[in-house]
């Protein structure tokens, strides 16, 4: 369904008239996802900062399933936001935007490992190394969501866009595992 159906003023403007309602709704959903992710990150930062929160989550005695659920929520937000941001940035032709997309990939990797470390039960090490487990699961979820955002439904992704997105994914995975390794060594 085209926008021109609702907005007759678009008549004659082929570019705008070609925008579909699905694209508009998708854009609004992307904006909401970014806002909720930023709110989640702010919430984690606030929690770590020892500020008062209306809901206090005690992670110390939480079972693995609860931790995994928490990780899933964080990773869903991170993956959706990273995919959306990098998708928009790599669609543009300006080189500085491409560099920003790489920096964002590295930054999100840092946030993911930091979140994994917070969620992992470091005080009572069990059979499973939780930091590594959470980082690997988190990287998997984030990459899958990025891939979902990058999917090419209309044959629009050019070779250079694909390469930029692939580089972004490689940077995200490399930085995440590098930080995990450094934490391990420390």
């Amino acid at each position: 369904m085209s926008l021109s159906k609702f907005l007759p003023d678009l008549k004659g403007n082929a570019g705008l008239a070609g925008i579909t309602l699905v694209q508009v709704v998708g854009f609004i959903a992307d904006c909401l996802a970014i806002i909720t992710t930023l709110a989640t990150i702010y919430g984690i930062g606030d929690y770590l900062g020892g500020q008062n929160l209306s809901v206090i989550i005690t992670l110390d005695d939480s079972p693995l399933a609860f931790r995994l659920m928490l990780l899933l929520l964080v990773c869903c937000g991170l993956g959706w936001a990273l995919g959306t941001i990098c998708k928009r940035l790599t669609e543009k032709s300006q080189e500085y935007l491409h560099i920003i997309s790489f920096i964002m990939a590295g930054l999100f990797a840092l946030i993911l490992v930091a979140a994994s470390e917070v969620i992992a039960n470091q005080s009572k090490p069990g059979l499973l190394p939780q930091l590594q487990l959470f980082t690997i699961v988190g990287v998997g979820i984030v990459v899958m969501l990025c891939r979902f955002q990058y999917r090419s439904l209309d044959g629009l992704a050019s070779g250079s866009t694909l390469e930029l997105r692939s580089s972004g994914i490689l940077i995200f995975v490399s930085v995440a595992f590098l930080i995990m390794l450094l934490l391990e060594l420390s």
């Binding site: 369904m1 085209s2 021109s4 159906k5 007759p8 008549k11 004659g12 082929a14 008239a17 070609g18 059979l127 499973l128 190394p129 590594q132 487990l133 980082t135 690997i136 990287v139 998997g140 990459v143 899958m144 891939r147 990058y150 999917r151 090419s152 439904l153 209309d154 044959g155 629009l156 992704a157 070779g159 694909l162 390469e163 997105r165 692939s166 580089s167 994914i169 490689l170 995200f172 995975v173 490399s174 595992f177 995990m180």
Partner: protein, 267 residues
């Protein structure tokens, strides 16, 4: 919904394969670390022969094994993982599954067993180390004619001559025309639509309210355009009436209406 995957350019494929390899290595590290929490060199009891050169040799070997035990476990797991994924799973690994990478031949079909074996042998000859590059696909993939596919890459479109023109009359009856079968379209790239059988390539039903020479559609690889030929009742995309005598871009898969007949070009 069927998963649509297109062929990746070699440089993008190389980067994604490297990312997948990192995920696989991290997973193997996790498994080996878990194993090492259960199995330690101290728990492995080996009965050694007493007072002989062989015993000294074994003790020396044991000491070395204790130091390098984690490395040995990791290498052993990697070898098993490589054998299982390359021989039994046809190159599918957890990392590649997460990144949605699938292997095919150049035509997009599944890779033949002979080519898989050739690829595996070449990979083994370099212990897979030649695959550690991010700018191009490894030689063993190129030699076997492998193509990596992903949902991130665009699916190649069909040739224009294979596109289909669908027409739906007021009574609901549908007609389909393959563009390659319309000789004047193959010659000119234009499709004339109207009731006039002498003029039109796509002849509309005589009961239709459309004009004899209603509109023309021109198609090329970049875009499809439509022009209303000063028709009496007009041409519409959705509810938007097209200006007569002016080429307008027809969005992909858009339905247009020649008064009371719905038309669509499926690429």
């Amino acid at each position: 919904m069927a998963k649509r995957r297109g062929p990746l350019p070699s440089s993008s494929a190389a980067k994604l394969l490297m990312a997948a390899a990192l995920v696989d290595l991290a997973l193997l590290y996790l498994v080996s670390k878990t194993i090492l929490r259960v199995v330690t060199p101290e728990k492995i009891q080996v009965s050694l022969p007493n007072n002989s050169v062989l015993a000294d040799f074994f003790r020396y070997g044991e000491a070395v094994a204790t130091v390098f035990f984690p490395v040995l476990v990791f290498v052993f797991l990697t070898a098993i993982f490589w054998l299982v994924t390359e021989t039994l799973l046809g190159g599918l690994t957890p990392g590649r599954a997460v990144l949605g990478l699938t292997l095919s031949d150049e035509t997009g079909g599944p890779l033949k067993r002979s080519k898989r074996v050739l690829r595996g042998m070449r990979k083994l000859s370099t212990l897979g180390l030649s695959g550690l590059q991010v700018s191009d696909l490894p030689k063993y993939d190129k030699a076997a004619g492998c193509v990596w596919n992903s949902s991130m890459a665009p699916v190649p479109r069909r040739r224009i001559t294979e596109w289909v023109f669908v027409l739906q009359a007021k009574d609901g009856r549908k007609s389909r025309y393959r563009l390659g079968d319309i000789s004047s379209f193959v010659r000119t790239g234009q499709l004339k639509i109207g009731r006039d059988a002498q003029w039109a390539d796509i002849v509309l039903p005589s009961t239709s309210l459309a004009s004899g020479r209603h509109c023309v559609v021109r198609v090329n690889r970049k875009q499809t355009e439509i022009i209303d030929n000063n028709s009496k009742n007009g041409t519409f995309i959705g509810n938007r009436k097209l200006a007569a005598g002016e080429w307008t871009v027809l969005p992909r898969k858009a339905v247009f209406r020649t008064t009371d007949v719905l038309c669509q070009i499926l690429s």
